[in-house]
Amino acid sequence: MSGGAVTMMEERNYVLEMRDISKSYYKNVVLDRINLRVKPGEIHGLLGKNGAGKTTLVNILYGAVPKDSGEILLNGRPVEVNTVGKARRLGIIKIHQELNVFPKLTVAENIFVNAYHERNLVRRGLIDWEAAVEEALKLFAQLHFPLDPRRKVGSLGVAQQQMVAIARALAANPKILILDEPTAALNEQETEYFLRMLEKIQKTGVTMLYISHRLREIKLIADRVTVIRDGRDVATIPTPSLEEEKAIKLMVGLETKSRYPNLGLPAKKELLRIENLSVGNILRGISFTLHEGETLGIAGLAGSGRTTLMKTVFGLLKPTSGRIFLRGREIRPNTVRQAIKLGFAYVMEDRLAEGLFINRSVMENISSINLERISKGRLINNELEKKIAWGLIRRLHINVRALEQKIQTLSGGNQQKCLLAKWLLGDGLIYLLDEPTAGLDMASKVDIYNILNSIVCRGAGVIMISSDLSELIGMCHRILVMHNGAISGELRGEEATEEKIIKLASR
């Protein structure tokens, strides 16, 4: 047998191959010649930290994101997957991270919502609901799902709703089913139930790509796992031989702490004290302090309550119990306005959806919280507004051509600087930053870190949520790790390692 024949044989052993896939956004390299090989019928885990490139990789496979270079092979044959529709026709279906069901529709309606024709459920232009229910029952029998197709999806539990989403994907007869953090919204019991269901699905012969940064889950469910780091595949390992310590090491990679421009100045007096803060079941008994000149990091998986904590401190959510002290005096910020007056500044996670007025100009965005300063009575002083905006643009060195420029035309880094700029005019005392460098290129990250430096230098305190663990370790005095709405551990900057944080975040 020649070498070429062997290669052919091997290729046939894989239902899916992704070869040398690369993808960059502007200067931000997300995937760097990554490779993935999946065997038919297996559950293949994709393991990696946030931002490692897992989601981008499957989005390319799913036709939602175009790749810059590389090759995709199905059963050894190269395919072009340039649209989601094309991916569906090839049998590649993705189940999204967030629950993606219609709560007001029935289970059957949800399942066949985009497959009425494929399933021959249309009679004379009308949908045959009885047939749909029967089809659904057939599907459930095959999968052993205990679901009633006539029930409204909104009346089901979260795990069952997730099953509906999966049943809908299976109704399209997929060859490869992509599950992107399917358990992010589920609690422990629901997760267990969900994983048992996946085992049943696997028996029907569907190949699955299972993305998670929960190691335990991957070990339970996957046959093999590919570890991804900084946009590259670092190893593919059969799960029985996957040790936790080794897996974390592979995910984390080399120490990069020294690249972060941390001034290393000591923190001073107590600024903010949180005592036993709870919000229903989402936040449970949170207590911590923040000092002047301190950068406090918050780590935790999606759904751990990180963002809820920020929103509660900022007055966007009402705590069910607990107390907040600012410089030793108890405060009760009930509204955002009060919080701002007290010196809180909040830079939200999703700058496009929440932080910025995306259709407005640079100037309007910068002055949006400083209106009092630029107004006389109810009129805005335009001259002064312009001067102030330019002043801040100069101070932060934001790359802007004109104040009238729409904010959406700026790069991510410059947008983030505009977002910070509006909080920098004088009054900020406590800065709450949710993923402040997510999606930014390296130069912009360095700028944001130095702006943070100047904020803490002036005696303000910073609380920073980040999924970039090396960034937290590099920039923070202390790191609180959250898990299931509570603080599962606290690490000093010098003693923190990514391994320790990952363990505390996912136990």
Partner: protein
Amino acid sequence: MFAAARQERIKELLLKHKQFDVVSLAAMLGVTEVTIRRDLDKLEQEGFIIKTHGGAILKEVSSPPNQAERVPPEIIEIGEATALLVNNNEAIFLGGGLTCTQVATNLQTKQRLTVMTNDLKVALELNNAPGVFCSVTGGNSLQGSGVLVGELALRAIEEVHFHKVILTVSGISLANGYTANTVEEATFYRHLLTRCDELIIVADYQKFDKTGFSRIADLKAAQKVVTNKEVGDDYKEYYFQNNIKLFTPYEVEEIKEPDQTDERRGGDDDGGKKLRSGNA
């Protein structure tokens, strides 16, 4: 922090326009009016301006005092930021040049700090600092600069070791590394690199993409670099990728102590006029 750099900018504006109002100055510099008033107090004490109602005018007599010696704000802020990286009880070497002299200005309050330098101006700057022990290398003076180099300077560093070496360079370039204008300086600084735990390069953004006559070292030789935010993205990226800390100061305003006019109230939506901004 960084108030001096801002005051220097105010001086420049006043020299150019002769007078200015507080509101416009605050707006142009992106700080609060309280901060500007404090700066103007300082400048009045220095005899540079006369404060008026709502603004300031340039004192006629204060024509730019020795234009040649005025330090640009971007170098002042590098001096302030670099001093934050130096701890008490350390032994450091501070090189020659205007930027290093600015670093020295900001080291005067340190305690039990040992500074060796090859610049006479740096030594003069630290002469009256009670917590700083300063020694000078000796060597041949480069004409007009007060910077010492040559065999005698090299001998002075034979038997010493520094926690940090802080140097200004003439050029920084991705292709040619750190460079100096004379072979003598480059030779001396190259020897220094073998005598320290950490190299900190201090240089304003205009030194980037330039190359001097004589090469000192590769860009990776430094562990920390202090410059201005205007430096090119390619350098920010390069240093980040190579695990080198890049510091670029941003102007900030000091936060006022809470005990003075702290009228902030938690449950009160109508807090009246602007409640907080900085004072000294």
